[in-house]
Each structure stands twice: as C-alpha cells, then as structure tokens.
Amino acid sequence: MIKNNGFLPALPPPSTSVGVIGWLRQNLFPSPLNTVLTILAIYLIYLVTVPTVSWVFLNADWVGESRNACTSGGACWVFVAARFDLFMYGFYPESEYWRINLAFAILALLLVLLNIRQVPRRGWLAAFTLIGYPVVAFYLFSGGLFGLDEVETSRWGGLSLTLVLSGVGIVASLPIGIVLALGRNSQMPIVKAVSIVFIEFWRGVPLITVLFMSSVMLPLFLPEGTSFDKLLRAMIGIVLFESAYMAEVVRGGLAAIPRGQYEAAKALGLNYWKSMVLIILPQALKLVIPGIVNTFIALFKDTTLVLIIGLFDLLTTIEAGFKDSNWLGYAVEGYVFAALIYWIFCFSMSRYSQNLERKLHTGHAR
C-alpha cells in the first residue's frame, strides 16, 4: 500500500554550492572578472609575503651580542635585542628600571580591574586611576621621595616616555575638555565665545607648530628667571592641543543626550552644576568613551612629533640606536620594530573601542 505523506524529501543542494567548493565559488570566483582579480591578488600576496617572511624570519639573525652576529643577510634582530632597554626606558638608570616596570604594572592591574564587571566600587577605582594614579606614577618616575633616587626628566625616554606623554595628554585634557564643552554649550555669551575661540584655535593649527610654540615661545611668556623643563613644555603644548579635540568629543556626547534629560533635571529643581554632574555628564561621558579612546590613539601616534623638538620618545631612541656607529645600517630593522610596537598599541586600542561602541550602543540614539 502506498501512503502519500505529501512531499518527497528535499534533495541535498548540489556539491558546488555548499562546503568549501561552494564558498570558493561564491567568494573568490563568482565571475570571470573576479577570477582574474583573485589570481592577481594571490600573485601579489606571493610577491610580498615570500621575501618578507624570509627576511623577517627565515634568514634573520636572532641571537648574538654585536653586529658580527648578523651574517645571514636577513633582518638583524640582534640590533633590537641589544638595544631593547634603550628603546623601552631611554637613558633611565638601569638600576631603577623596576620603578617604571612597577608604575606600568600598577596601571595594567587598574585597567584590568576596571574592565571586570564584578569588581565592587568601580567608580572609585576609575577616579583613583584618573587622579591618584598619575601622582603615584609621577613619584615613581621622578623619585626624590621615600629614599628613591631622583631621575631628571631629560633621562626619561623610549616607549615609557611615549606612554607618559600620551597618558598625561589624555588624563589632563579630559577635565579641560569637559569644561570647554560645557562652556561651548553655555547660555552665557562671553563664556561661549571664549570656549569657541579656544577650541577652534587649537584645532586649526598643526601639532608641530604648537610644539614649536611651546618650546620657543613659552619661555618668553613667563616672568624672567622661571625656567621650564623641556618635557613639561612639550606636555603643556600637547595638553592645550588635545583639550580642544577632547572638548569636541565631549560635546558630541552632550548633543546625544535627549532634551528630556535636561528638562527633567530642571524640573527636579537641580541647579546647573548638579544637573550636569549628576544627570547629564555621567550619560554623556559613557557615550563618548569610544571617542576618547580614538582621541587617545591619535595622540599616541602624534607623540612621535616630539622627535622634532628633540625629546627621546620611542621613535627618537630607535633613530639614535641605528645612528650609533656600532649599529649603522640597521635602520630598516629599527623602523620595522617601531612600526610594530605602534601598530600593536593602536590596533588593539581601536579594536577595544569598536567593542565598547557595540556594547554601549544601548539606546538614546534618536
């Protein structure tokens, strides 16, 4: 007896449209033009990767003490290994490296704690990271307290100086930026005008002229006899410059807060500062965290400009490294190493910021 249940079972899809073959057909060879492009791309990858891999890995020299160890014709990573301390710490005294390490270890710990949801009182922790930690780190770096030897700022350098410059730039420019953003949104005409002029001025000029200005003109502006540390002068320039960018980022956050929030705060009888600090800013700042991270990335890359005013950041120490007569001719290795470090930092931060953006996308967008 034949019992008809309705339909026959569906046939499996043809083998050319599923699995590896299907994927290849769909993504690499969908049309003649794309086939040509794919083949060209594979050829290009072959042209680039084969010599690169052999230079970076296969033919490279990894161990040794001096340039005599570099004989195989590939990259001479011995150079980077030998000058690694210089690249990381600049001319900081070797016996005191632990202080820099400790400072960054504390920072890493704080950042990890801040990103774990279960940690209690994260607000206070964040406040400490922004306000208390810089003080601790400053005394760890410069010493002069609790029996630590004093280390002048002219000996700071390398990656640690790059991190100090960008860290100070962000932490100090955040409060100034918030005040400027509030000022730009203010009802008071003079406050508003002053904020706009300040923001547009610093955003309109290149950082390099700002650094020139802070290194050449600042000494002229101050009363006779006051002398400023070179590093501090660069930092002042960077903070002024960065606070304008930060103000625009914060202003973006303020603009994204629905009007109802402002009105509700007023209806509750809160005055201006209370409604800002308790209602508006917590929401606005949460929204602009990705923007702040992006500003940080830009600043991190921009700190390389201090090379031009002669501070020893990562890039400058690397240049100094391969201009050393013992290591002449290893510029490529130096630049590649610098690029790698900057790339790792910037790329991971941008991924983090994209991640945050997705996580924080919880509403309010009108």
Binding site: A41, G204, V205, A339
Partner: protein, 396 residues
C-alpha cells in the same frame, strides 16, 4: 474705610546672588577680568623678556634679505630675496603638497574602499589589511621610512631607472619631461573652454529632455567624448604647439625637465597612503550608514544595482561622507607640516624653521605660520557648516 490688602500674587523675589541673570553676569565679568589679567601679564613678561634679549618686535625683519637657498620653489626665488619671499615660497610649497596629497589620497582611498566592499573575499581582506596597517602606524614614522629606506634604495643617477627614455627615477628624484608651450597653444586652451561649456549645455539639455519625455541620454559618455576629442583635435589643427623638454644625463646628474625631489615624493607617498586609509574608512562608514531597506526598496522599484548605487545610496551616503572627507583633507593639510622632518621646504620647515632661526623673531614667525593654517581650517569649516545646513535632513 478698610485699607485694602494688596494680594501678594508675585512670588517672593530670590536674593540677589541667587538670581541666574546676576550670577551669569558676575561670572562673565570675572572671566573677562581673568583673561585680561593673564593676557596683560603675558604681554608685559614677553615685552620685558624681548627687551632683555635685545630682540626688536614688529614685522620689519620681513623686508631683510634672507640669504639662504631653498631646494624647491614654484615661484622665482634667489638668496638675495627677502624673508617675506621665503614665507611665500613656503606657503606655495605647502599648498602644492596638500593639493597633490589630497588628489592622490582620494584616488587611493576610493579604490581601497571599492575593494573593501567588494564581494571578492580575498580583495576585501587585502584592502582591510592595507587600511588597518597604514592607519595604525604614525605618519612621521611612515614619512621617515619612505624617505630614508625606500627612496634611499633607488639607484644613483648614472644607473637611473629608465622608462622609455623620457622618465628617469634615481636617488635625486623623479625626472619628468616638462612641456614647453609654443605660440599656437591658445587654440588648445580655447578648445578646452569650449568643451567645458558644451558639456554644461549637454547636461542641461539631457536633463530637460528626460523630464519632458522620460528618455535617458548617456551624458557621461558624451561629455567624456567631447572633453577628450575637442582639445585633441585643436592640438593637431594648431600643428602640435607643445614641445617637450626631456631630462638628460649631464655629468653626475640630470639636467632639464621637471624634477620631483625625493623629499616631496616621500612626503606625498606617506601623506596619501596614510590619509587614503582614513578616507576609505570614511566612505565605507557613509555607505554602510544608509539602511539596507533603501537598497531593497530600490530593487523593488526595479532599479538595477548600478543606478541603485548612483541614484539612491550615494546621494544619502554623501551626507555622512562629505564632512568626514573634509576633515581628512584638513588633517592632510595640517600633517603636511611634518615635511620639516625630511627637509621638504614647506611653510613650517622654511619659515618656522630656517627663517625663525636666522631672525630670532619667534613670536611673529610662529604667529604668521599659525595664522595661515588657521585661515585654511576656518574657511573650510565655515564652508562645511554651510554645506551641512543645506543638506541636513528635515525632520519633524
């Protein structure tokens, strides 16, 4: 007669210092006082310091003779020219590198963007690798890399790379033939103008006809044909009035022709490759910002993929793209000041560098330099605000 009690309808007035108007007035007066005080003390400090160091203020130095050479100048410049002239030379060089950089960055950026959005997986990934690599490496490092590593590996003049005996590439630069315009060239110029006017008319006519009859016209192809054929015809009709000066190896170097010095080449390469990565991202974010429903609606109306992109997606995406693109162009212009790292004679390198060192007039020189960048930025952002206002979505 009972004294009538005045009804106290007006609420009790707040104390003076609690009134918003009073507060904001006081606050603003204080702010002005602080600014005036700080400004005044800065000014008096500066004047005092300048007096102590024996530096005179003012812009008189601009008319003194400069006395130093500049590697590249688009306008006539000799060592005996004034400092004001060095300012002009630097400014023109900055504008040149910014203009060329914007051009190249836009072209590379759009190509990368098309590749990034391509359906071909490999091409899309390659474009992504490009974008993520160059976006995340500091520009200064890239400039130095191009200048000291890549261009330094080029051969010496005697072993120049030779393209068709006309283009030569070596350590000293890229040598191109330079055109010499002869007397009959005005014919070609007129032809170009005529072609532009013709294109405008064709476009208007085609639009009017489409609105009247619904028939479409291949405006783009027709315009390209006119723009190309008219000048070419005029060129031959006038008897080829352009001669070419071809660079020639004389002694240790090439003479004649047009030379792109390696400083300019490195700066341009780095600026355009770096900014192109940002432009590609800006364009991508603009296109992705147009909701997919728009594409589906266009398909439902029977539009093919090409017109969908051209008529539906791009006009909406431009609203997001244009402001980001402008800010990238501004960044490129400001970043061109990194020229000073490789010694390309731009405004910062020539004027805020050499001229400042020679004259010691730090304040005037830095102020003039900043004023140039500020003028460019403010002009562009004013134009941008105007554009945004015009293109803003009208929402209820």
């Amino acid at each position: 007669m009972a004294v009538e009690q005045q009804p106290s309808s007006a609420p009790a007035k707040a104390a003076l210092w609690r009134r918003p108007v009073f507060r904001s007035t006081v606050f603003q007066v204080l702010l002005v006082l602080v600014i005036v005080y700080v400004g005044n003390s800065l000014l008096s400090n500066t004047l005092h310091n300048l007096h102590q160091r024996g530096i005179s203020t003012g812009f008189d130095f601009l008319s003194n003779a400069a006395g130093f050479g500049i590697v590249q100048s688009l306008i006539d410049y000799q060592e005996t020219d004034t400092f004001a002239r060095t300012f002009l030379v630097g400014l023109v060089n900055t504008l040149l590198v910014s203009f060329l950089g914007i051009l190249f960055a836009t072209v590379i950026g759009f190509i990368m963007d098309v590749a990034r959005l391509s359906k071909n997986w490999l091409i899309a990934k390659l474009a992504m690798v490009y974008i993520e690599t160059f976006r995340n490496i500091p520009l200064l490092l890239q400039i130095l890399f191009w200048y000291f590593i890549v261009l330094n590996k080029l051969p010496l003049p005697r072993q120049s790379m030779n393209l068709a005996d006309v283009f030569f590439i070596n350590k000293r630069g890229l040598y191109l033939p330079s055109p010499i315009f002869e007397s009959g060239f005005w014919v070609v110029g007129v032809a170009i103008l005529v072609a532009i006017v013709a294109v405008i008319f064709i476009a208007r006519w085609a639009r009017a006809r489409q609105e009247r009859t619904g028939e479409q016209f291949h405006t783009v192809y027709a315009s390209l044909a006119v723009l190309f054929s008219l000048p070419v015809l005029a060129y031959f009709a006038a008897g080829s009035p352009v001669g070419w000066e071809i660079p020639e190896l004389k002694g240790f170097n090439f003479k004649g022709g047009f030379v792109v010095i390696p400083e300019l080449a490195a700066l341009l390469l780095a600026l355009s490759v770096y900014t192109a990565a940002f432009i590609a991202e800006a364009v991508r974010s603009g296109i992705l910002a147009v909701s997919h429903g728009q594409t589906e609606a266009a398909y439902a109306l029977g539009l093919r993929p090409g017109p969908t992109l051209r008529l539906v997606i791009i006009p909406q995406a431009l609203r997001v793209i244009i402001p980001q693109l402008t800010s990238q162009y501004l960044n490129l212009t400001k970043n061109s000041s990194l020229a000073t790292a490789v010694g390309y004679p731009d405004l910062v390198s020539v004027f805020a560098g050499t001229t400042l060192n020679q004259t010691g007039q730090a304040i005037e020189v830095i102020a003039m330099t900043m004023a140039v960048y500020l003028t460019i930025s403010l002009t562009i952002s004013l134009l941008m605000n105007w554009y945004n206002k015009k293109k803003q979505l009208v929402e209820r």
